[in-house]
C-alpha cells in the first residue's frame, strides 16, 4: 500500500511516516498541497493521503477540493490530520470529500484505528 503525508512540519511528517511504514505502507512526503499534487501526478492514484489543514501555498482543504475534482484520484482515501477541531470544520472537510478526520494531538493508536475504519489496516 502507498500513502502520501502532507504537512508543513517535518516533525509531523516523520511521526506519521514512522507509523505508516510500520503498518506496511510505502510513504511519500509533501510540505504543502501543491507539492502533493505534483508528487501525485508522478505516482498516480495511491491508497491514502494524510493531510494537514493549515499549510503555505495550498491548504489541505484546497488540496481536497482539487483532488476530488479529478476522477483519476477518486479511489484515494483522504484523511485530514489537523488541530482544527470545530464541528463546522470537520463537516467542511467531509463535505469537500475527506473520508476521515483526526484532531491533533493524537496517538499512534488513533491513526491505526482510523486506518482500520478505512479498511487500510493489515490486521
Amino acid at each position: 500500500m502507498k500513502a502520501i503525508v502532507i504537512d508543513d512540519s517535518r516533525a509531523i511528517r516523520i511521526l506519521l511516516k514512522r507509523i505508516l511504514v510500520a503498518q506496511g505502507f510505502e510513504v511519500f512526503e509533501a510540505g504543502d498541497g501543491r507539492q502533493a499534487i505534483d508528487e501525485l501526478e508522478k505516482t498516480g492514484c495511491i491508497d491514502l493521503a494524510l493531510v494537514d489543514w493549515n499549510m503555505p501555498v495550498m491548504t489541505g482543504y484546497e488540496f481536497i477540493v482539487e483532488i476530488r475534482a479529478r476522477a483519476e484520484f477518486a479511489a484515494m482515501s483522504i484523511m485530514m490530520v489537523t488541530t482544527e477541531s470545530e464541528t463546522s470544520q470537520v463537516q467542511l472537510a467531509l463535505d469537500a470529500g475527506a473520508n476521515e478526520y483526526i484532531m491533533k494531538p493524537f496517538t499512534d493508536d488513533v491513526l491505526k484505528e482510523k486506518l482500520m475504519l478505512l479498511g487500510l489496516s493489515q490486521d
Binding site: 470545530e86 472537510a93 493524537f106 482510523k114 475504519l117
Partner: protein, 278 residues
C-alpha cells in the same frame, strides 16, 4: 518479581483482594501494573509510599479499597472497537433478529462490561444509522460495569478529544456529538437510548434481564477459566432464543463452554446457541 515498597505478602494480599472483589486475575507477569497504578493512586491520595497505602487497605474495606480496585482495573475501550464485530451486527445479526421481532417489537442489547460507554453508544449510533425503523421500538440498550466511576462518566456521555478520535467515524462525530468546552458530548437522543448501571458480573443479574444480544467483550480475559465458564453458562440461560453473544478478539467460548456454536461464515467470530439441543 517483587513490587517496589511492598512485601511479597502485600502483593499476594492485593492479588487475592482483586480476585475476590472483581474476579480479575492479576498474574505475576503483571506485577509491574500493580506497581505503576498503585504509585499513581498513592500520589493522588497523598500517601508517602505504597506500604502505608496497602496497610490502610488492609484495615478498611470501604472507599480506599474501592479506589484501589478501580486503579488496578483496565478500562481501555474505544468506539467501534475492532470494527468487524459492528459489521457483523449490521449485516449478520441484527437484520434477521429485527425481522423476527416485527410482532413483539422488542429488542434488548446488553453491554456487560461497558467501561466508559463507547461500546454501547457505538451500538446506539449503528441502530440510528442502519435501522431507523427500530428506533421507535422499545429498544433496551443496557450497559453495566463493576466500576461506579466509569458508569458515572458513561451516563454523562461526555468524552475527551482523544476518546472521540479513537475509532469513531468523523461523519458520526459531526452527526451525533456536540462540542462541550474542550470535550465532546453525545447528543441527548442517543444518550437517552441507554440505561447505565453498576453491576458486578459475579453478583446476581436483574431478574428481568433477557437480552437478545450480549456484548461481553474484553473482560473474560481477566478472569480464571472457572469464572469464564460460570459467566458463559449464565449468559446462556438469560439469552433469548435466537440471540447472539459477542466476545473480545482474544476471547472465545471454545474449550470453555462448548454449548455455544460459532456463527459460520461470519466476518468475525460471534456465538449463538444451536436451535435444537444435541
Amino acid at each position: 518479581m517483587a513490587v517496589n515498597g511492598l512485601t511479597e505478602a502485600d502483593v499476594v494480599f492485593l492479588r487475592e483482594l482483586v480476585l475476590r472483589r472483581s474476579a480479575i486475575v492479576i498474574d505475576e507477569s503483571k506485577d509491574y501494573l500493580i506497581e505503576t497504578r498503585l504509585e499513581k493512586l498513592a500520589r493522588d491520595l497523598n500517601y508517602a509510599n505504597l506500604g502505608t497505602l496497602v496497610a490502610d487497605v488492609r484495615r478498611d474495606s470501604g472507599t480506599i479499597t474501592r479506589q484501589l480496585i478501580e486503579a488496578l482495573t483496565t478500562h481501555e475501550t474505544l468506539f467501534f472497537r475492532d470494527v468487524r464485530p459492528f459489521d457483523a451486527l449490521k449485516r449478520e445479526i441484527l437484520p434477521p433478529m429485527i425481522a423476527a421481532r416485527q410482532a413483539s417489537r422488542q429488542l434488548t442489547i446488553w453491554s456487560a462490561a461497558c467501561s466508559t460507554g463507547q461500546e454501547i453508544f457505538s451500538v446506539a449510533m449503528l441502530l440510528r444509522e442502519q435501522f431507523p425503523e427500530v428506533v421507535n421500538w422499545p429498544v433496551r440498550l443496557y450497559a453495566t460495569d463493576i466500576s461506579g466511576q466509569v458508569i458515572e462518566r458513561a451516563a454523562q456521555g461526555r468524552f475527551q478529544q482523544l476518546e472521540v478520535n479513537r475509532g469513531l467515524p468523523a461523519a458520526m462525530l459531526v452527526k451525533y456529538f456536540e462540542r462541550d468546552g474542550v470535550d465532546w458530548k453525545i447528543k441527548d437522543d442517543i444518550r437517552r437510548m441507554v440505561r447505565f448501571e453498576q453491576l458486578n458480573l459475579l453478583h446476581n443479574w436483574p431478574a428481568d434481564l433477557r437480552p437478545d444480544i450480549v456484548l461481553l467483550r474484553n473482560v473474560l480475559i481477566y478472569f480464571s477459566v472457572a469464572t469464564k465458564k460460570e459467566l458463559l453458562t449464565r449468559v446462556r440461560h438469560v439469552l433469548r432464543p435466537g440471540g447472539a453473544l459477542m466476545l473480545g478478539s482474544a476471547e472465545t467460548t471454545l474449550g470453555i463452554d462448548d454449548s455455544w456454536e460459532r456463527a459460520p461464515d461470519s466476518v468475525t467470530p460471534w456465538y449463538r446457541l444451536p436451535r435444537s439441543g444435541p
